[in-house]
Amino acid sequence: GCFVFKPSPKKRRVSQKTVNHFGERKDDSEDTELRFVTCQSLWNEIKLETEQIQEDLNKQLFDNLVSFLRRSHSELQEKTTEWTCQMKSREIPTAALVLGVNVTDHDLTFRSLSEVLQNNITPYIALVEAKDCPGVKNLMQKLMGQLMNCYIDVDSLEDEDYVQVSQNRIRCSMSSLINWYESVTKKTDSETPRKKRTSSSRHWQSPPVVVIFKDMESFTTKVLQDFIVISSQHIREFPLVLIFGIATSPMIIHSLLPHSVSSLLCIELFQSLSSKEHLSTIIDKLLLTDRFPFKLGEKVLQVLINIFLYHDFSVQNFIKGFQLCVVEHFYSQPLSILCCQLVDAKKRVNSLSHNQCENIRRLPSFRRYVESQASEKQIALLTTDSYLKEIIQKLLEDLHVYHENYVSVLRCLHVFTSSLPKYPLGKQIRELHCACLENQVWETEEYESSLQLARMLNKSDLVTMLQQCVEIFVSSSGKEFDKTIEKLKEFLTQFQQLDDAFQEQDVSVSSQKELQKKTDLYHLQKTLLELKESRRSKKLTKFEMLRFEVVDYIDGLVRNYLVPADNKTLHEIVYFNTASVLREHLNAAPRTALHTALNNPYWYLKNQALKSDGGSISNKAPDICIAYKLHLECGRLINLVDWLEAFSTVVMAVEGQNADAGSSDQVDDVIHARFIRAVSELELLGFIKPSKQKTDHVARLTWGGC
C-alpha cells in the first residue's frame, strides 16, 4: 500500500494553532482549551463510529467482489488443458460496480476497496480517473506508474530494481508492462522463504492486476475501446481484471462500448447499498443514540437532510456537515464544556467559574426554569454559585435520562407509524425525529390522524408491533421502562386471551346453531340474524376496547417522553441550533451574495455612510457598485457613453455642486478612469462582455433585460 503518514509534530503544532483560533473570537469566552479538547475527542469518537458503519455497510459488496476476483483468477489458471478452455475466447473479467449518483462518496469507497483488495487478492492495483486519461497513452502511463510504484513499495530496499523501472518508464506499452509483470512474479517465486511467508501467504503466485476505472461515464469511448482491445490480446500473459465504477446505470457500458469490444469482456454486475439507506444507518447510529452527548436541533438536522435529499445524496457531505456542527457548537457556545459524558460533565460543573455560572443564568431555558421556582429558590439560584452547581448537576442528569427515554419511545412510535397507510408521520424514523423535535408532536394534525389509523389496525399487526416495542424497551438503556414492558406484555396476554375466547365462542355459537335447527325456517332466520348482530357488536367491542387501550397507552408514552428538546432546561448545552450558520456555509448562494455585495455594499462593509434606503444610488459607494446599479437598469446591450454619463452624474451629484458649472458636458479625466476601471472589474466578474454587434456597446450577461 502507498499511504502517506503525516508527521505528527507538525500536526500537533497545527492543532495548537487551532486552539488559539478557538479562543480568538470572544475575549470573555471561557475554557477554550478544554472545549477544544472535548470537541476533538468527541469528533474522533464520532469519526471512528462512522468509519465503522461504512465498513459494515460495504462489507457485503466487498466480499462479493473479492470472491469474484478470486474466481475469475482461478479459472484462468486451473484447467488450461481442457478442451473448453482452449476453444473459448478469453474474456477479460470485469466487474461493473454501480455506486449511485453520489459521486463525492465514491472516493472513499474506492479507497477502502483497494485496501481490501490489497489485503486479500493482489498488490497490483491501479486506480484511474477519466480526467487523467484523455488518450490511451496517458492511461498507459498512469497505469504503469501506479503498478510499478506499488511494486517498489513492497520491497523498496533493492536499488537496482528502481533503475530498471525508471528505464522502462520511457516505453509505455503493453509489452513492457508484461515484462514487468513476468519479472515481478518470477521474483516472488524465487524469493527467500522469509519473504515468501509475508507476501505469498496472502496472494497467489501470479496475482491478477486490477485496474479500477473510477468514473466510467466520463471516459471517452476511444480510450476505453483501445485499452480493452490491447489488453484482451495479452490476457493470457497478463491476468487483468477491470472494475468499472458506474454512477448512473450499467446501460452506460453498452452505450460506451460497441459490441465488438464488449464481447471481449466478461461483465458481472455489483450494486452498492443505496446512499439513502446509508444515511438512515448513519442517523440511526449517530443521532438516535445516547452514546454521543452532542445533539442536533430540528432546524439544523432539517438543513443537513435537505442538502442530502435535494442536492447531492452524499453521505460524506452529511458527515462533513455534522462535523461543522460539532465544531461550530464548541466554538460558539462557551457552555459546551459540559457537552460530554454525564460523569465528566458532573465533575466539570463543580469547577465552573463565576463567569460560566453567569452564562448559565443567561440561558433562556434556565431563566424559564428559574421563573417556575419558588421565590427563595430563585434568589438562591441567581446568587449562590454552589447551589446553582448542585441544581445544574441535577438538571443535566434529567436531560440525560430524557435522552435515554426519548430514543426508545421514538423507536416505539416509529414501529406504529411506519406501518400505517400513507405514512402521515413519515416513513423514515428521521422524519418522525424531526417532527418530535420541532414541537409537541401530539398537537399536530398528522399525529391525530395516525392515531386514528392506528385504532383501525388489525390484530395480528398490532400484536407484532407490540412485540417489537417490547423488544425495543428491553434492549434500551432507560431505567424507567420496567413498568412499560410489563404493561405491554399484559396487553399481549390479553390479546392472547381474546383469541382463546373467540374460539370458545365460536364453538358455542355452532352448538347453538344446531339447537335451532329444529324450529321452522322463519324463526331460524330471525334468530340467526340476531345472533350475528349481537356477535359482531359484542366481540368487536371487546377487541376494540383493548385496541383503544393500547393506542391510548402509546399516546400516553408519547406525551410523557417525546417532549421537544427546546422545552428542556439546559438544552442549549448539548443542542446545536443555529441553522443559519450552517446554511451559509454549506448551501451558499454565490450569485445572491455577489448581488448583495454590489447592490447593498453596507451589508458587507458596515460603513455608516453607505447605509442607504431603497433604490437611490449613493455616490459614496465604491465605483463598481455604482456602475453595477446603473447597469441593472439597462437592457441586453449597454451603450458605454450613456453609462459613463450616468456614472459621472451620480459621482458628481454631491461633491460637485460647484464644479458642474465649469465642465458640465466634459467628463473629468479622473472620473473617466474610475469608470473604465469599474467597467473592467464588472467584466472580470462576468457581468458584461464586449460586444461585436454594435460599436461602443457591451453585452450584459446576467438575466438579460430585467
Binding site: 476453444m87 458481472e268 448551501n587
Partner: protein
C-alpha cells in the same frame, strides 16, 4: 487434391498449411505466388482487407509461421504512436536474429532513424538473401499517426533498398487510406466473408476429443441455425458453441438419448440457444454467470441483465434540473412563455399549430439551450422557491459528468454555457414519476 503448389516449398509443408487454413486456399495460393521464392524480391506492399474475423490475421500468421519466413508482426492499436510502432518493429527484428545478442533499447523518433536502424538490423543478420515480411495488423490506425508513416511503409523496400515486403491488414477498403498527396499503390487483396458452409466446416473442425466429429457437426448445424441470422463472427460463434455444448450433451450424458438422436437433442437445446442469444450474446449476463447457471440448471430469469437496471436515483433538484433540461431541449423557445408563465396572453392556436407541429421535435433530437433558460424553467416547474445556491450549479456540472447533459461549444469563458439534454423520454418519464 492439394490446391497449393509452389516449387519453392516442400509439398508436405504445403499440405499441412492447407489443413490449417480451411476455406482460404485461393487467397493463400495467391499470396504464395506473390511472395515467390525466399530470395526473390516480392511486391513492396500488400494490402489485405475483409470483414471482422474473415481470417486475415490468422492466415498471415499461419502462413508465415509454417513456411518459416522471417517476419515481424505488429498490431497498430497496441503500439498507438509511430514511435512505439517503429521501436517495436526494430525490437522484434533484433530478437528474430539467430544469435541471442543483448537487445539494447534503441530510441527511434522518426522514420528517417527507422530506415537507418532498419538497414543496420537487417545487415547484421543473415536476412539479405530472404524476403523479410512486416505485417501491420489493424492498419487503419496508421492514418492517425504522422502523415508520412503510411506512405513510407508502402515504399519501405525502395527506401531501405532491402528485400522487404510490408503487409497491411485492415477491415476497411484501400480507398479510405489513400492520402490526398498520393502514394505508392499497394497490391490489394480481398478476403471475402465466410459463407454458412465455410463456418460450418471451420467450426466443426475443432471437435472435443470425447465426442465424435459427426455429433459435434450436428450441434454446430443447430447452433448456426439459431445464430447465423444475428452473428457471423467466427470467434463469437466459436465462443458460443463452447459455452452451450455441455447443455447439448446433457441428454447423452444422462442416457436419455444417444448421439444419433438428433431430434431429441435439438428439442433440448433450441430454447436454450434462443435464451443465450438474448443474454450471453448481448453481454447482458457474462459467460461465466451463464456457465454457472447451466451447472445449477437455474432459469436465466433469476439473473437480471445489465439493461434491467435502468433506474437511476437522483436527488430532488437533480431530477427537476434534468426535466427542465429536457423541456428546454425539446421545446422551442417561443413556447416557453405559453407553458411556463401564468399570465400569458391568448394563444392564437390556429396559426401556431398549422405550420410546425408536423415534424416531431423528438425526431430532430435535442437542441442546445443556455444556462439561464434552464434555470428559468427550473424556477417555474419547482413548486417552492429555489435559491440559486452553489449546490444547484454544482449539480448541473455533475449531471454533465454523468453524461446526462452535455455541454455544447464552450469556448468563450464569459459566454453563458450551453447544454444539451441527452437522455430519452422514457428516462425522463421514469424520473418524473
Amino acid at each position: 487434391m492439394p490446391n497449393l503448389e509452389h516449387p519453392a516449398y516442400p509439398a508436405a509443408t504445403l499440405l499441412h498449411l492447407e489443413s490449417l487454413v480451411p476455406c482460404r486456399e485461393s487467397q493463400v495460393s495467391m499470396l504464395l505466388s506473390i511472395f515467390g521464392e525466399r530470395q526473390q524480391f516480392s511486391f513492396p506492399s500488400i494490402f489485405i482487407y475483409g470483414h471482422t474475423s474473415s481470417g486475415k490475421t490468422y492466415v498471415m500468421e499461419t502462413l508465415l509461421n509454417t513456411l518459416q519466413l522471417p517476419h515481424v508482426f505488429v498490431n497498430c492499436v497496441e503500439y498507438f504512436t509511430s514511435r512505439l510502432l517503429l521501436e517495436e518493429i526494430l525490437i522484434q527484428l533484433q530478437s528474430c536474429s539467430s544469435e541471442a545478442e543483448q537487445t539494447s533499447h534503441v530510441p527511434c523518433d522518426n522514420f528517417n532513424d527507422f530506415v537507418r536502424l532498419f538497414k543496420q538490423a537487417v545487415a547484421s543478420q543473415e536476412l539479405q538473401d530472404q524476403t523479410l515480411y512486416i505485417v501491420l495488423d489493424r492498419a487503419e490506425q496508421l492514418r492517425e499517426m504522422e502523415a508520412n508513416v503510411l506512405p513510407a511503409f508502402l515504399r519501405l523496400q525502395e527506401l531501405t533498398d532491402r528485400n522487404v515486403t510490408v503487409v497491411l491488414l485492415s477491415e476497411i477498403v484501400w480507398e479510405l487510406f489513400r492520402p490526398n498527396t498520393g502514394c505508392f499503390e499497394p497490391f490489394t487483396l480481398y478476403f471475402p466473408d465466410y459463407s454458412i458452409g465455410h463456418l460450418q466446416k471451420i467450426l466443426s473442425q475443432n471437435h472435443p476429443p470425447e465426442y465424435s466429429a459427426d455429433f459435434y457437426a450436428a450441434y454446430i448445424n443447430i447452433l448456426l441455425g439459431v445464430f447465423y441470422m444475428v452473428c457471423r463472427d467466427l470467434k463469437e460463434l466459436q465462443h458460443l458453441a463452447v459455452l452451450n455444448f455441455s447443455k447439448y450433451c446433457e441428454p447423452v450424458v444422462s442416457g436419455e438419448a444417444n448421439e444419433r438422436d438428433t431430434r431429441k437433442l435439438w428439442k433440448n437445446i433450441e430454447p436454450h440457444l434462443k435464451k443465450a442469444m438474448q443474454t450471453v450474446y448481448l453481454r447482458e449476463i457474462s459467460s461465466s454467470q451463464w456457465e454457472r447457471l447451466q451447472c445449477e440448471d437455474g432459469e436465466p430469469g433469476q439473473l437480471k441483465g445489465l439493461s434491467a437496471h435502468t433506474h437511476v436515483e437522483l436527488p430532488y433538484y437533480s431530477k427537476f434540473l434534468l426535466i427542465a433540461a429536457y423541456l428546454a431541449s425539446y421545446n422551442p423557445v417561443r413556447t416557453d412563455k405559453r407553458f411556463f408563465l401564468k399570465h400569458h396572453g391568448k394563444i392564437r392556436k390556429t396559426n401556431f399549430m398549422k405550420k410546425h407541429e408536423k415534424t416531431s421535435n423528438h425526431l430532430l433530437g435535442p437542441k442546445p439551450f443556455p444556462l439561464d433558460r434552464l434555470l428559468a424553467i427550473l424556477y417555474s416547474i419547482v413548486d417552492n422557491r429555489v435559491a440559486p445556491t452553489a449546490n444547484i450549479f454544482s449539480q448541473i456540472t455533475s449531471l454533465v459528468t454523468l453524461q446526462l447533459l452535455t455541454m455544447v461549444g464552450h469556448n468563450d469563458q464569459l459566454d453563458g454555457p450551453r447544454y444539451k439534454c441527452t437522455v430519452s423520454l422514457d428516462f425522463i418519464r421514469a424520473i418524473a414519476r
